[in-house]
Symmetry: C2
Subunit: 205 residues, 2 copies
Amino acid sequence: MKQESGSHRYQEQRRQAIRSAAAVFAEKGFHGSSTRDIAEHLGIKQGSLYYYFKSKEEALGEVCLFGIEDYVHRMQEIAASDQAFEAKLTATVTSHLSCYRERNEALKVYNDERLYLPAGRRIKLKQLGSQYRQQLEGIFEQGMESGVLRPSVDCHFAAQAVIGLCNAWGDIIVRDPDINMFDIIQKCTDLLLNGFAERRKVRRT
Amino acid sequence: MKQESGSHRYQEQRRQAIRSAAAVFAEKGFHGSSTRDIAEHLGIKQGSLYYYFKSKEEALGEVCLFGIEDYVHRMQEIAASDQAFEAKLTATVTSHLSCYRERNEALKVYNDERLYLPAGRRIKLKQLGSQYRQQLEGIFEQGMESGVLRPSVDCHFAAQAVIGLCNAWGDIIVRDPDINMFDIIQKCTDLLLNGFAERRKVRRT
DNA sequence: TGCATGTTCTATAGATCTATAGAATTCCGC
DNA sequence: GCGGAATTCTATAGATCTATAGAACATGCA
């Protein structure tokens, strides 16, 4: 019945199925979507979906993986490049927000629905997630070593803050296509580097 | 069958039901939770839940409202107080994160599940949400006028950034009870005011 | 064309889930 | 303790939903 090795055509069709699942999961959430919804989006009947996925959970797993894959890949390229700290930070924010702007519903699904995966299926995702965070931490360490950042910066906190900030704006960007993304990118990096306070005064909180 | 005016006892029991719904929705999501789950958490049988809610959607609506209510209320007090800008900012971050630390599952539900409410039920929530954001914007305007903030700050962006940052850390705090919340509060406000960059250098991105 | 394999369809079992109706029980003022 | 109101229970209708089995159709190679 089902192709084991995976012909070229099969892989191509399966990718489309993953995209459909991503679109539906992003809109209605994992539990709010039915396999019928996904199949309809793809233009086939409900039962036929099981030619591509062993279960609904497998579909979710594939969507999450698809969503985070090239996102992590881009970060790897940025971290490995020989740019200065500030360029890397800007590139990170740009990459992160671009993923949302490109209607990457899969990334939204990764963020919002991955917790519904059984523990076994989450291992790979956790790996990729912490790889991303660690590389971002590495960028901040580079920034401290080069003297651009204050020595007191907590790199773990900083990395989480960047991710949180970008995810928050990513959500807003997805819902409002009229937003000027470059404006947001510029303001985010400016916030991360300089904060909102007037620079003349020295402040300690 | 059902109490119309709402005796004291009824209102009290209903609050408990809302709390149970909040706990279950927060863990499994709206569509992932069944009315049986909620009833079990509350210690009654599935059908009995409809003594307190006309539908599952009504329960979600009440949870969301409950989650955002005192959160907005606290912001109102902060905004109306006569503190200086920096104190208000710290108070805002503290209030926001405290809501999460107090296991306010309802706030998480408001953030993650409110989109599944029908449009009619969302009106009040939207009002409260934008009230919160506007008051936060007002605080930033105060900070600009008093000269603490740079004149170039975009108050709308700033307010969204604070909310996004606090939500991101709120999520982390909820999952990891060992985190030192005061450390996070201090680092968040420091980031918002000063950024991560060494202050001696003047940076423009 | 004919055969084998790949892809989709129909139909359905079996397990949910929401919401309702009415019976049973508990609570509380008298 | 009695009687009415408040609260909870049981049972179920009716509408999902996931996953499977096997038939039907399509495709491509000999």
